[in-house]
């Protein structure tokens, strides 16, 4: 799986602030690790949604400028998928649910660290 805990700044900060915990990364439970990790929200290309619509939805849901939303939409269109946001799991799930509400094909996956 390649958990490179040291590169996870959020995790490091939590470890530093928690004096009860042994400074040993092995002791961190699997659940805690997954809670600390960030998740990618991915939008996938599909043949039905219009380019203008995908751009509109990205602006609407994430508050992106037209330029940023257009760049992400083009990535979806040309590469087949684009990471449109990275956030903690609960918020990423919420974002995916809202993207589904607009009819976009969206998934979330753990960010590779």
């Amino acid at each position: 799986m390649g958990y490179s805990i040291a590169s996870n700044e959020v995790h490091a900060a939590r470890m530093a602030s928690d004096t009860r915990r042994q400074p040993d990364v092995i002791e961190v439970t699997r659940e805690e690790r997954s809670r600390d990790r960030t998740w990618n929200v991915i939008v996938w290309n599909d043949p039905i949604n219009l380019m203008s619509y995908v751009t509109f939805v990205l602006q609407r849901l994430f508050g992106y400028s037209l330029e940023v939303a257009t760049r992400l939409m083009l990535e979806v269109h040309n590469e087949g998928r684009s990471i449109v946001a990275t956030m903690e799991r609960e918020r990423a799930e919420h974002a995916v649910a809202r993207l589904h509400g607009f009819g976009l094909q969206a998934t979330l996956e753990k960010q590779e660290v």
Partner: protein, 168 residues
């Protein structure tokens, strides 16, 4: 053919010919019918409820938690489109529909749901958009409707402009 313009207080005004309004009025029922008792084995329903996770068990958990909300959201969209059409004012034979900032996103998403339903049924590919509709094609009406809804959706988006409009 319809016209779209900006209205007062962030609204968008959609002027429809009588026949266009009649056709749009059929969409909410069509969506509701599909969502009444959704068959998640059906690919059209699957398109409206996309996967959230690659992992099937995580995905099932996600769906369990959130599919009710998603159905509610889509029904809300269908109701918003229906209400907007029913409250339209008549001018000559045109229907003048007002989409307020509160309803714009719902109506747009509803029109898009209709596009997803038709497009999935017809197995739309990227190439479909380049070809003209063949009047002899048994799917000609649905294809023409899909094209029409696409132009309508595009024009509604242009009307709200960059990041503004619908929600203020």
């Amino acid at each position: 053919m319809f016209r779209v313009r900006k209205g007062p207080r962030g609204s968008v005004i959609l002027e429809l010919e009588h026949e266009e309004a009649l056709i749009l009025r059929t969409l909410p029922d069509r969506i509701r019918k599909l969502l009444e008792a959704p068959d998640f084995g059906d690919r059209v329903v699957q398109r409206l409820f996309p996967r959230a996770y690659k992992d099937p068990s995580k995905d099932a958990e996600f769906r369990e938690l959130l599919s009710k909300d998603l159905i509610a959201r889509k029904l809300e969209g269908a109701a918003a489109l229906e209400k907007a059409l029913d409250e339209a004012t008549e001018e000559d034979r045109d229907s003048v529909v007002t989409l307020t900032p509160a309803t714009f996103d719902l109506v747009l998403a509803c029109i898009n749901d209709a596009r997803l339903i038709i497009g999935t049924k017809l197995d739309i590919t990227e190439d479909t958009w380049k070809a003209d509709v063949d009047p002899e094609d048994p799917d000609a009406f649905e294809l023409a409707l899909l094209h029409y809804l696409s132009v309508l959706e595009e024009n509604l988006i242009v009307a709200v402009g960059q990041g503004g409009g619908g929600k203020e």
